[in-house]
């Protein structure tokens, strides 16, 4: 061993002399965050308290809160959000448990189907449900009349109603709760349940006293996400509520940007949503407090599935039956609409037609440009957004910089801003001309009309979710793994690159896919920020929807899903992503 003579070993002198770039890089990301988040919010705040000619006023709030035209949408929005939260919890939590903890057959299939419903843009789902459950032309209502012989104007479902809006939003929001619950259950070690069983508890007692309380934070978080999603969703209510003659807050805000635009009223109208979201998020952390059930360290066995016995197959049947609603039926209806001449009639071999496909790809002059914009933006946002969220989540999780709490707060803040309001904030921030502040002329930053403004919007909108995803992924990587690297001579960035990043690979891929999917389906900010040269798929579909071109919508929607699925599938083929996750769970 003495042959390993100390003197021959090069100590990292070079490292010592080299400039450590970590600090500046961190500062850069912090500044970026301020630009992404603070700037649009600041503009919204300024507008909420501004008169049309720039004076300071609270008249906007008086107008909002004193007017039934705004009070009704507010109440409607709350009713929708609460209902969606409860429905999602009731449906998704048991389903998550079945998939994560029971011996129900087809668990993977159910997970895949839930993913499919997540990938479905809510506005596309809403259009599909119009095809299915519009009171007169809806396929389900037609079928009902054919079966029951009910009168021609009799209908079973009316999707153009408050109930219809709640139903459709729930269909495409419950995956959030499902994923949170299933993942939480995946992480709870089987031993904890075994310990309860050993003490003589029966399966249901164990579930009640151990599993459910341990899952409660995830359920609560899921309900909150569902609530916020439902509250801030624009597409589905725009498609279903407006024909029924009522507004939600988001559609009301959107209508304020129609000519003549009233951004100051819109900003003020966004305030209740903003306040409510912040209150709820505070309440959640107050309720959960430090009750973090993350089980770290120690080796735990895989959970033992609960035997359902005779209920195995009925449970699967119920799950698949539920998946009719967000997946099978809507996609059936879209296929029908894509390949028939009249979307409200079931296709037969004789009525099968490719004219919608032909129109979409060969006549509609916007299709290709829009596709290019959409997928360029989705890839860019996925990549930049993942990187951004990764660094911020890292800085916060590792308390790497002073004020990391603020970074975390800023990264989470956009969750409180409806996409449509953020769109306006960005519009205001990046369309202005010369601005003079305290005698200093600030040059104009005109990004409106470029893809950049959409990129910024997508980055900001997807930041909270991707930040939290990667935050929990980073939490799962023990800080000592990085410290071990640093003490051996790696800079913070090098440790991040060589140790943390590979261990986070599967989380990173998942986040990238998440952003990609979310960008492709994002409508509410894009609907404000697009110009004809920077139109994206969701806006094109929305445009087509406003003039009732259901066939082309169906074709575009199905293609959108096909490409999204293909991209997500390809991303998951990145070598080692799966295997390394196994390793990092050690």
């Amino acid at each position: 061993m003495t042959r390993l003579a100390r003197s021959t070993l090069v100590q990292p002198e070079a490292t010592r002399l080299r400039l450590d770039l970590s600090g500046p890089v961190l500062a850069l990301f912090a500044a970026l965050l301020v630009i992404l988040v603070v700037l649009p919010i600041a503009w919204i705040a300024i507008f909420a308290f501004s008169t049309k000619d720039g004076g300071v006023t609270i008249a906007n709030f008086v107008a909002i809160f004193g007017d039934a035209e705004f009070q009704e949408p507010l109440v409607t929005t709350l009713v929708i959000a609460i209902s969606v939260g409860l429905i999602c919890c009731l449906v998704a939590a048991p389903m998550g448990w079945l998939v994560a903890r029971s011996d129900m057959p087809g668990r993977r299939l159910v997970r895949t189907l839930v993913t499919a419903s997540f990938v479905t843009p809510p506005f596309l789902g809403a259009i599909a449900w119009e095809l299915l459950a519009a009171p007169n032309s809806g396929l389900l209502n037609q079928a009902w009349r054919a079966i029951s012989g009910a009168a021609p104007d009799h209908h079973l479902f009316n999707i153009y109603s408050l109930g219809g809006v709640i139903f459709v939003i729930s269909c495409y929001t419950f995956p959030y709760v499902f994923v949170l619950v299933a993942n939480a259950l995946d992480r709870i070690p089987g031993e904890l349940e075994d310990a309860s069983s050993m003490l003589g508890a029966r399966s249901w007692q164990t579930a009640r006293s151990i599993t459910i309380p341990m899952t409660l934070p995830a359920i609560l978080a899921g309900v909150l996400v569902a609530f916020l999603q439902a509250m801030n969703l624009f597409g589905s209510p725009a498609i279903l509520a407006i024909p029924a003659g009522f507004h939600t807050m988001t559609t009301k805000i959107w209508s304020l940007f129609q000519f003549p635009p009233k951004p100051e009223l819109a900003a003020a109208a966004a305030l209740p949503l903003l306040v409510l979201t912040i209150v709820l998020l505070r309440a959640q952390s107050a309720i959960l407090g430090q009750r973090s059930y993350a089980v770290l360290g120690g080796k735990y066995g895989a959970p033992r599935p609960v035997r359902l016995g005779a209920w195995r197959w009925p449970a699967l049947a119920i799950c698949l039956g539920l998946m009719l609603l967000p997946v099978f039926l809507p996609y059936g209806a879209l296929f029908n609409a894509a390949f028939s001449k009249v979307p409200s009639k079931l296709i037969t071999w004789s009525t099968l037609s490719l004219h919608n496909v032909h129109f979409t790809f060969f006549e509609l002059s916007q299709t290709w440009g829009v596709m290019r914009n959409t997928f360029l933006l989705a890839v860019l946002s996925g990549t930049v957004g993942t990187l951004l969220a990764l660094v911020i989540a890292y800085l916060v999780a590792r308390r790497a910089v002073r004020g990391h709490r603020w970074l975390g707060f800023l990264a989470t803040a956009p969750i409180a801003i409806p996409g449509i309001v953020l769109g306006v904030g960005l519009f205001l921030a990046y369309t202005r001309s010369w601005l003079s502040v305290a005698g200093v002329d600030i040059p104009p930053m005109i990004l409106y009309g470029t893809l950049w403004i959409l990129l910024i919007a997508y980055l900001t909108i997807e930041l909270p979710a991707s930040y939290q995803q990667l935050g929990s992924a980073i939490q799962a990587v023990h800080p000592e793994l990085e410290e071990a690297s640093r003490i051996l001579g790696a800079t913070r960035l090098r440790a991040l690159r060589e140790i943390t990043a590979p261990l986070l690979l599967s989380g990173v891929v998942a986040t990238w896919c998440f952003i990609f999917v979310a960008v492709v389906r994002e409508l509410s900010a894009a609907v404000i920020l697009f110009t004809s040269d920077t139109k994206v798929l969701s806006v094109l579909i929305f445009d087509l929807k406003e003039s009732g071109d259901l066939g082309a919508i169906a074709v575009l929607g199905l293609m959108m899903l096909a490409i999204t699925t293909a991209v997500v599938w390809l991303a998951n083929l990145i070598p080692g992503a799966e295997a390394r996750r196994q390793a990092s769970q050690m």
């Binding site: 061993m1 042959r3 390993l4 100390r6 070993l9 090069v10 100590q11 990292p12 070079a14 490292t15 010592r16 450590d20 970590s22 360290g297 023990h478 000592e480 793994l481 410290e483 071990a484 690297s485 640093r486 003490i487 051996l488 001579g489 790696a490 800079t491 913070r492 090098r494 060589e498 140790i499 590979p502 261990l503 390394r580 390793a583 990092s584 050690m586």
Partner: protein, 354 residues
């Protein structure tokens, strides 16, 4: 090679001082053990030395170089240190050999040198056969040795160990103590070892710093702290001493439960409350005889006795209600409830400073 010096090191989290004005010099090639219960500030001290956190006050000097001060803290990667973590912190996506090679690669050594050094250190750590395995495929002891090898292969100026054995089972822990000592003797790296296990500290350390409440309570050789504890805390924490309290009668004697007990250690101030440490096996127990007990002998009643194989564990209650714990020879059995005499050897009764 360099010594490590802590000068008035203080780290506050909010209002509480996790490390409170700690000064300590670790001589070149010495292994110093920071020993104390959880929350005593030993791990914080270690992380301050590593540079993972910055001190609130004071500084850390390695050789001639100030590496930590409130104004400027050298990042961990520039300190030429190594660390063994409580969790081992082996990188799950690298094999044992890759884990060990990592630090060498960072130092920019060529592949052949890296390979040779990795091979050599794996041999020292008896890990050759396991080089290609991933951490998840190794046992706890094997992971521990990989962790050691990874820290030593870069031949650090300073080696830091944070409860390195706490995740091992008892047998392995004992074996690894000697392993660490053996490797230290071989490399003579300046080392700081954090533990809450006094046996571990005794086996491995050249110098032990007993920590309590963010301060160093006593600093000395293992013999020093064991034989000559300065405070009640050290006496209790190291080697299971009884701490008996009484009033000093003169410069050497303390009245304990009314009995004058001769002590050693320091000159007493007559009239002052004084604590005396006596180790459990330094008390000679005997059934109470008739008449007056001999000098330096306390009276009591046996409350409990447990046969431990090599010895018998007694709890004896004195007249003033205080309990004394005694390790008596295994063959000496006194029925609980009966009166007993406890003879204290004046040489073994240590009057405590604090």
């Amino acid at each position: 090679m360099a010594s490590v010096e802590l000068r008035g090191l203080t780290k506050r989290f909010g209002a509480t001082a996790a490390v409170d004005n700690v000064s300590l010099t670790i001589g070149d090639g010495n292994l110093v053990c920071l020993l104390g219960p959880s929350g005593c500030g030993k791990t914080t001290t270690l992380r301050l030395i590593a540079g993972f956190i910055e001190p609130t006050e004071g500084e850390i000097v390695v050789g001639e170089r100030v590496i930590s001060s409130p104004r400027r803290t050298l990042p961990p990667e520039q300190r030429m240190m190594s660390m063994i973590f409580q969790s081992y912190a082996l990188w799950p996506h690298m094999t044992a050999a890759e884990n060990v090679a990592y630090g060498l690669k960072i130092r920019g050594l060529d592949k052949a040198t890296v390979d040779a050094r990795v091979k050599a250190i794996l041999a020292v750590a008896r890990l050759e056969a396991l080089a290609g395995r991933y951490p998840s495929e190794l046992s706890g002891g094997q992971q521990q040795r990989v962790s050691l090898a990874r820290a030593l292969v870069v031949e650090p100026e300073t080696l830091l160990m944070d409860e390195p054995l706490s995740n091992l089972d008892a047998n392995l822990r004992e074996e690894m103590r000697f392993e660490i000592r053996r490797l230290h003797d071989q490399f003579r790296t300046t080392a700081v070892y954090v533990t809450h296990d006094q046996a571990e500290a005794m086996t491995t350390a050249d110098v032990i710093a007993v920590m309590n409440g963010g301060r160093i309570e006593q600093l000395g050789s293992p013999e020093d702290v064991y034989e000559r504890p300065v405070s009640e805390f050290v006496a209790r924490f190291i080697g299971a001493s009884n701490v008996l309290k009484g009033q000093a009668i003169d410069r050497t004697q303390v009245a304990i439960a009314g009995v004058p007990v001769a002590t050693t250690g320091r000159a007493l101030e007559p009239g002052r409350e004084t604590a005396v440490a006596v180790r459990q096996h330094d008390i000679r127990l005997a059934p109470a005889g008739s008449g007056e007990p001999p000098a330096n002998t306390l009276r009591g009643v046996v409350r409990r006795q447990v046969f431990l194989g090599s010895s018998r564990d007694y709890i004896v209650e004195m007249q003033d209600g205080a309990e004394v714990r005694i390790a008596a020879p295994a063959d000496q059995s006194i029925t609980p409830g009966s009166a007993a005499w406890m003879h204290l050897d004046p040489e073994r009764c240590r009057a405590l400073t604090r």
